[in-house]
Symmetry: D2
Subunit: 338 residues, 4 copies
C-alpha cells in the first residue's frame, strides 16, 4: 500500500501515518519529494490494512493499493492452469469446449430434442434454465424442479452434463441433486451469500461476470467460491453495460486475455448475451476463441420466434452447427482444437 | 408495441406478422411508408406480447415497446404519492426525512452511542449493517444477529426505527424480527428471489438502485415487491458506475425528478455511496433535496479512520449536524421542511 | 511517480529502473515488500517523466502517477478563486450568474425578442448558436456570421454580453469580433488546435466538458487555454454519456464540488443538455446550484415545438422565469445570491 | 417516425399532431390502443421531420425514429462493399490489410528504419503521427511538417503509402501534400468543420470512432465525408470508454459485425488503442479479424521504453511479425487472406 500525503501536510501528520503503519504491524518507507511525500507500506501482519481508514487521516491525499486483493484466484500464487473436468474433457485444456442449449427449459420434449441435436453438433454440455431471473415479475420464471428432472432425463439420453442456473441459497441443495455445473448468473455475481453456499457445495461453478463488474470484481467473486476449497470454477465473460445500444451488451473481448494473464481459472465466453442478436453470435463466438477463450456457452432454440425467453439471441440448431465449424477453424488457427 | 419491417420485406412477411398479432389476440394497424412498413399492435389479450419473438420473424427490422413494463409502480395507474410511514412521519410527505448511522454495526456501545447522536441531530431513523456484502471474502462480513440485537437496543434507547440490510432469503425471517425497514442493497437489486421474499414479508422496504441498473430496471424490481401486495417501498438513488473515477460512483441526480414523475413511490438519495468521499457528501445531499428527493440515507461514524467499513465516505457526527442544517435550508427553499 | 515491480522481478531489473530514474534526473527510494518492490520517484528534473516508458521496462508491473498533470488550473498552485468578469459581475463570485438564450440563433427578430425577455427575467448574458455542431450533415448548421451580427444587435438593445460557440480555428477571428465569450462545445473539448487558438485570443472562454471526458481531462483542456496566459476560463458540466437512456445525458453533479476543490476556475452547469427534457431542467438547475455551481447556462425558446434545434430541452420564457426564482432561493440557502 | 401519445392525451391533442404531420407534408396513420394512441408518420416531403419538435407538443409522450439518419453510408442504399484502394490492394476486399508504424514520427532515421521493417513484415501501409493530439499541453505535440517530409522519404524508400493524422482544418492542405490517407482521430470524430474539409479534399480518410461515440454517431460522421462525394472512407473501431479500467479502453468487437451489416464501408480495428497494453495487442488483433474486420492499424516501435508516446501499447517489430502470422492464420480460418 502507498500513502500519498498532501503537498501541505505537516511533519506531525506524516509521523502520525507512520505510527499507524507501525502499530498495524507493517514497515513504512518514506520518499520525500518536492510536492508530495510518499509512504510505502510493506511487510506482513495479521492486522488487515484498511486503505479507507488511512484515506481519512489528516494530511493524506490518497491511498493506493499495490497487491491484488485476490489470492487463491491469482496466477501469481497458482501459476498452472486449473483444468475443470467436463464430460471427459477439461475446460481450460487445449480443447475449446462448447456448452449449448435453450435459455429456458420449456418442456420435456423440447429439452430432450435439443439435447440430442446439441450432442450431434458437437456440444460438450447442455445448458437450460429451470429458475429464470427475469426483469419483470410478470415474465415466465422457469419450470423449477420439473425442468431439472427433464434436464436429468436429457442427460440420460445423451450423456451431456447439465449446466443450469441457481438463483438463491435455498435452491442450492435441490439444484445440486440434478445439475453437473451450477451457473451463477450475472445479476447474482455479487450475491455473496449464494457464492458462499455454492462454494461449500463443492459442485462445479460457472460464474458469469456481472454487467457492471470489473475484471477484478469477477476475480473477487471467484475468490469467495475458492475460499471454500472449491476450485472447480469457470469464469464467463458475457458482455458489460455501456452507452452503446446497438447491441444488448458490449462484449469485453479484452477481458479474455487479461483474465488468462491474471488467473489460472478457465475463461469462457457467452456470445449470445454478449451481443443479444442471433445474427452476430457467430462472429462474436469466433472473436472470443481467437482471443483465447477456453470455451463458449451459447443459446440455441429450434424456433426462436416461439421461445419463451431470449428468442432474439438464440441460434437455430443448423446455424449453431455452422458456428461450431467456424469455431473449430479458429481454434486450430490458434493452436487448439474444438 | 410497434413492429418495423425491413425496407425489403415482402407482402408475405408482413401478413405473417399480422397473422401472428391476431393469433395473439391483438389488433394490427398498418402504416405503409416509402421505406418502412410499420405495424402498430394495440388492444388487450391474455397472451403476453413477447417483443423478442416478433424480433426474430422474417422481414422484421425491429420491435419497439410502447407501454411501460411496470404497472403497480407507475404513477399512471396510481397518480397519488405513496406515503411510507416512518417514526411518526411519512417518507414521501412534505417533510424530508433523514436516515443516518454507521455503515457497519461494530459494537453495542458504538451503535447506541451513534444512535443517541443521530437522534439529537434530527435523524428520523437509524441505519446500521448487521450483514455486510463485501467484495472480498476476507473483509469483515458483519456481526449478524448480535448486531441486530444491538440495533434493537439502540432503538429502545432512542425511539429511532432501524433500517438494516438483508442479503439472502434465509435471513429474512430473522432480520424481520428486529428491523423496521429492510434494505435491499445495490448488489441485490435484481436478486429476484430475495425481492419475492421481502415482498411477502410485508415489511417496509428500502430498495437501492443497482450500480448499473436503469431507472426502468429499478421500477421493475420495485414491481416485484409491489406484486406481493406490499406497497411500502422507498426507492434509493445511490450512484451509478460510469467511466469517471474521481468519485466512487456517479450520482445520477437526474433520476430523482425522473422517478418522481414516473412513480408514486418515495425517492430518497444516499449521498455517501453516491460520491464516496466524505468531503463532498454535504454538497450531494443538498443537490438531492434541491432536485426533489423525499429523504436521505447517510453514513456517519465518530472515528472514520477506525471504521471497519466505508470510513472514507462517513461523516463525523458534528459534520452530519451541519449537513442536516444545510438540508433544512434547501428543503425550505423548495417548499418543504426537514 | 511510483514504480511497482512484479513479484518475480530480479535484482537486475530493479537496478535498471533505478538507473533510468537517476539518468532522468530524479531520486529513487526503494521499499522492499514481501511480494512487491516499490520504487518511489521524487525530485525535479527538466526531463519529463514518461510513465509509459517505465511501464514497458522488464520486471515492471505498473506505474502510478502521484502529482496532478495540470498545474495552472490547480488550486494547489493558485489557491484563490479566479473571478471571470461578465457584464459587471464576476463568474466565480458570491453571485450565481445565469446565461440564457436559444440553442440556435434562428432570425434577427427571434434573438432580439428573446434577449429582451432574458434580460427582464434576470439573465446576465445571452447565449445563441451561430455555428452549430450537428450530428447530421443534413441538419441546420447555423446562420454563421449573419447570426453573429444579430447577436451583436441584441447586445446593443439589452446590454447582455454574448456567449456563442466557435467550432474551428478558422472561425476564431470572426467570432472574436462579435462575441464576448467563446464557447468550446463538448465535442471540441479535446480539439487541441482550437484550444490553442482560443487561448491565444485572450477572449473569455466557456469550456464544456466532453461527454466522455473525466474531470481530469477537462482540467487538462483548461490547462491548454491557461498555458497561453489566458485565465478567463469558465468550466461547464453538461452531463456525461452513460448506460442510462431515460435522459439525454447523466448530469454528473459530483463533478461540481470536486472541481471546486481541485481548481480555482469558476464552474457552471448546463442543465438543458444535462437532462435533455425541459420538464426536468428546473430540478437540475436547482441541484447544480445547491451543489456549489457558480452559474448556469440554460436553453430558452418561446416556441419549443418550432425550434430548429434542441426544442425538447428548451424552457419557454415564463418557465425560465420560474426557474430563476427557484435558483435564487437555492442560492440564498447556500449563502449566495442570484 | 412514430408519435406515441400519452394515455391521458385528448382528441384535440391527437388531431393537432395529425395536423402538424400533414402540414409538414407527410401522412399520419392512427392506431388507437387501450392505453396509448400511436401515430405512424410515413411518406416523403421536402420538410425535414424534427422529432424534437413533435416531442414538445401537448399530449405527446415520446417520438421514435424509424429510419436510419444516414443514407450514403447505409448498406441499404448501397448494398455492395465499397473497396478503398491502398497500395495496389483494396481495404474491404478479401485480403486483410495491415497498417503499422510508430505512434509519433520521432526522427528521420526512426521512421525510415521502421518503414523498412514494416514492409518486410508484410504491412500494406505506414502509420506515423506528425501532429499529435495530446491530453497535456506539456507533452510532445509532434514534429509537424518535418515529420511529414520524413514520412514521404520513408514512402520513397519502401513504397508504403502514408497514413497520418490531421487535427485541424488549417493543416489539411499541407497534410494532403504528403499523406496518402488522412486519419481523423477519435477526439476529432465529431469535429464537423474538419470532416467537411477532409471530405472536400477527396483524399482517402481513415475515420476513428470517438471514445464515447455510438456506432450510429460514427456512421453520421462518415456521412459528413460522403456528402462531399468522397466515398474513400475506412471506419476504425479503436475501443470505447467504459467503467472497466484494467485496459485503456474497451474494444467493442460487437461493432465490427454490426458495422459490416449496416454499412458498405470497410471496417478496420486498432488493437493498440483498444487495449492499451502491448501484451494483449496480438489477442485483440486476432479477435478483430475473426469477427470480420477488413484490416488493422497497429502501433510498432523498436524501443517502446524510449518511445515519446504510446510506448506502453507499442509492439516491438519482432512481436509485430508474430502478430502478422497469427492474423494470417485467423484470416484463412474465416475464408480470407492477409
Amino acid at each position: 500500500m502507498i500513502v500519498v500525503m498532501k503537498p501541505a501536510s505537516t511533519a506531525q501528520q506524516i509521523s502520525d501515518v507512520i505510527a499507524r503503519v507501525k502499530s498495524d504491524g507493517y514497515d513504512a518507507h518514506l520518499s520525500q519529494g518536492e510536492q508530495h511525500t510518499i509512504i510505502g507500506v510493506v511487510g506482513e501482519s495479521p492486522t488487515p490494512l484498511r486503505e479507507e481508514n488511512y484515506g481519512t487521516m489528516e494530511g493524506v491525499e490518497k491511498v493506493m493499493r499495490i497487491s491484488a486483493p485476490y489470492k487463491l484466484a491469482s496466477r501469481h500464487f497458482h501459476p498452472h492452469d486449473t483444468l475443470v473436468p467436463l464430460n471427459g474433457s477439461h475446460m481450460g485444456s487445449k480443447k475449446v469446449l462448447i456448452i449449448a442449449g435453450p435459455c429456458s427449459v420449456e418442456s420435456r420434449e423440447q429439452i430432450i430434442d435439443i439435447a440430442c441435436q446439441m450432442k450431434e453438433a458437437g456440444a460438450t454440455a447442455l445448458r437450460g434454465g429451470a429458475f429464470k431471473p427475469r426483469t419483470s415479475p410478470y415474465s415466465f420464471q422457469g419450470h423449477g424442479e420439473k425442468a431439472l428432472q427433464w434436464l436429468a432425463e436429457a442427460r440420460e439420453r445423451t450423456g451431456l452434463p447439465i449446466v443450469t442456473e441457481v438463483m438463491d441459497t435455498a435452491q442450492v441443495p435441490m439444484v445440486c441433486q440434478y445439475a453437473d455445473v451450477l451457473q451463477i448468473g450475472a445479476r447474482n455475481m455479487q450475491n455473496f451469500s449464494l457464492l458462499n453456499v455454492v462454494g461449500e457445495s463443492q459442485h462445479t461453478i460457472l460464474l458469469k461476470r456481472g454487467m457492471s463488474s470489473t475484471v477484478e470484481d469477477l476475480l473477487m467473486s471467484a475468490e469467495y467460491v475458492l475460499s471454500h476449497g472449491n476450485n472447480r470454477v469457470m469464469l464467463c465473460e458475457r458482455g458489460i453495460r455501456t452507452f452503446e445500444k446497438a447491441t444488448r451488451n458490449t462484449f469485453d473481448v479484452n477481458a479474455i486475455p487479461v483474465l488468462k494473464n491474471l488467473t489460472h481459472l478457465p475463461v469462457i465466453a457467452d456470445p449470445s448475451h454478449a451481443v443479444g442478436l442471433w445474427e452476430y453470435v457467430e462472429a462474436i463466438a469466433r472473436s472470443a476463441v481467437a482471443a483465447g477463450a477456453d470455451g463458449l456457452i451459447v443459446e440455441v432454440h429450434p424456433e426462436p420466434d416461439k421461445a419463451i425467453s431470449d428468442g432474439r439471441q438464440s441460434l437455430k440448431p443448423e446455424r449453431f452447427k455452422a458456428m461450431v465449424q467456424q469455431v473449430q477453424r479458429i481454434a486450430e488457427a490458434v493452436g487448439r482444437t474444438a
